[in-house]
């Protein structure tokens, strides 16, 4: 069992997403960086569907009541076990009654903690992913107890590890396709959008990453239409917004670009100030 001593800025349970309910207005949710989440699970031998902890910017402090194997992935996270620094991107054995402190990351925004065997938590509408008004909690709180599905059995020899995913973090180009309303933009604007430097605004969150930029872009509103994570919206006033995992299922702003699945993972790890361009 894990007890939450300090939940960190915004720590949730996430998995691959809540599929099958978008026509009920229920967002997909799921890990912001699916690639990092996949790696964390793989490192402890979990299936990719296993739910794990997601934290952002500043992670949680956890009391590890029973021994367990975990892995942390995502950014270059600064993690201490009973006050001593431990490595990320590899399986780690946590002894019973130890304290894990996940601090900040040098590079990257979202981090993941997988536990071998996964958590004993309820599935709601087919997924473990936290979402307000769907799951009981929208985020972890001080005092929460997370029970594990598998009770720890034997010491595991750690030899596996993965190289830090430099490519994910250093990429300055995000791969996109044209969105349904791309053709409605003027030729100049179509060219300009690929020559503009963007960076996530400080208001970025699991629902959307509004982008900061200096170009003069604008597009008319549209009749409410389907959208998805990775959809780049352009508003009449020139705001450029990339919808993320908790985004609403429909929207009334022009859909000018659509990020590739990997590009969404990459964008999730960009911090305000990290500049990038779109690449078609």
């Amino acid at each position: 069992m894990i007890e939450v001593i300090n939940p960190g800025i915004h720590t949730t349970i996430q998995d691959r997403g809540r599929f099958g309910y978008r026509d009920q207005g229920v967002p997909l949710s799921g890990a912001m960086d699916h690639y990092a989440a996949y790696l964390a699970n793989q490192l402890v031998g979990n299936s990719p569907e296993t739910a794990l902890l997601e934290f952002v910017f500043q992670g949680p402090m956890l009391f590890i009541e029973s021994a367990m194997n975990i892995a942390i992935s995502g950014g270059k996270w600064d993690v201490e076990l009973d006050g001593k620094k431990i490595d990320v991107n590899q399986p780690v054995h946590l002894p019973a009654k130890s304290t894990l402190k996940i601090k900040g990351a040098q590079g990257g925004m979202y981090g993941y903690l997988s536990v071998e065997g996964g958590f004993d938590i309820p599935k709601v509408l087919g997924s473990y992913s936290f979402y307000p008004h769907i799951t009981k909690q929208s985020k972890l709180q001080k005092g929460d107890h997370l029970h594990l599905l598998k009770s720890y059995q034997k010491i595991r020899i750690q030899t596996a590890s993965i190289a830090e995913q430099k490519a994910v973090f250093s990429s300055r180009e995000l791969e996109v396709e044209e969105g349904p309303e791309f053709s409605k933009l003027s030729k100049e604007m179509q060219e300009q959008i690929f020559q503009t430097d963007f960076t996530p605004s400080k208001d970025s969150n699991r629902m959307a990453f509004p982008l900061v930029h200096e170009a003069a872009l604008s597009a008319n509103e549209i009749s409410t239409a389907p959208v998805q994570p990775g959809t780049v919206q352009l508003t009449p006033s020139g705001k450029t917004i990339v919808l993320m995992r908790d985004a609403q299922t429909t929207g009334g702003y022009a859909r000018v670009l659509q990020l590739s699945p990997m590009a969404i993972n990459q964008l999730a790890q960009k911090r305000p100030g990290d500049r990038f361009r779109f690449k078609i």
């Binding site: 978008r22 207005g25 769907i134 349904p180 409410t224 239409a225 998805q228 429909t250 659509q258």
Partner: protein, 237 residues
């Protein structure tokens, strides 16, 4: 394929059907057809007023499906099952305490509150799709006299069940949320329940009619809803 409808790519394993102008049943007929014919390929679909997004399974052949659909759309055949969808009757308490903008709207439109209620409860609205929030219905059919611009400053918190008007749209907030709609009443019903199948009370393709209740009936229905003892009234043609 006729030029009124087209189908385009919309990202990884996603196709988008778009109508330049959708007639009443176009979207619904197409949804039913796709559900029947392509259940293997399609993970889920999201309809809106004039579009349907098709989200395909990872292993589905997107290009192949695109070519097939280009030949099969538009769907012309009538679908009898469409006529079997009910009209939901949604109780609404149109009283001051629950309709924060009720008097103001009536005053600005120079009509009585009774007249406002009559104009809102008379039409049979079409439920086109759900979006914005889990269970939130996009309706058409609001009387022109009730069209009204959004609040200039949205409220931080609109209570769950609030019935509102924004421009030419009327709808119901399934749960508490910030919002800029003009609130004219509140329903004691729950529009979304994770323990129900499907979880949203109102479904695309069905119709909706509001009916007026007083605060006493509101409390009684609210109690019944909490006891899981309330069945929404449905009218079939």
């Amino acid at each position: 394929m006729k030029s009124n409808v087209q189908i385009v790519l919309m990202g990884h394993q996603c196709l988008l059907i778009q109508w330049a102008k959708a007639e009443d049943d176009d979207v619904l007929k197409t949804l039913h057809f796709l559900e029947k014919e392509y259940a293997q390929e399609i993970l889920e679909m999201v309809p809106t007023f004039r579009e349907i997004a098709l989200f395909l399974h990872q292993k589905a052949d997107k290009k192949k499906l695109l070519e097939k659909l280009k030949k099969q759309l538009p769907i012309e055949e009538e679908n009898d099952s469409l006529r079997k969808l009910p009209t939901y009757c949604l109780p609404v308490c149109y009283e001051e305490e629950k309709g924060l903008d009720l008097s103001r709207i009536a005053e600005e439109k120079k009509i009585s509150i009774q007249e406002l209620i009559r104009l809102h409860t008379e039409p049979t609205y079409s439920i086109h799709f759900l979006g914005f929030l889990p269970g939130f219905p996009y309706l058409s059919g609001l009387d022109k006299q009730l069209h009204h611009p959004r609040l200039r400053e949205p409220r931080n918190r609109i209570p769950a069940g609030s019935v509102g008007i924004a421009n030419d749209q009327t709808g119901v907030y399934p749960h508490a949320s910030p919002g800029g709609w003009n609130i004219i009443g509140r329903t004691p019903l729950s529009l979304f329940n994770i323990n129900h199948t499907p979880p949203a009370l109102l479904q695309a393709g069905s119709k909706l009619q509001f009916f007026s209740i007083d605060h006493k009936e509101y409390e009684e229905i609210q109690e019944a809803v909490q006891q899981q003892d309330y069945q929404i009234q449905k009218v079939y043609d």
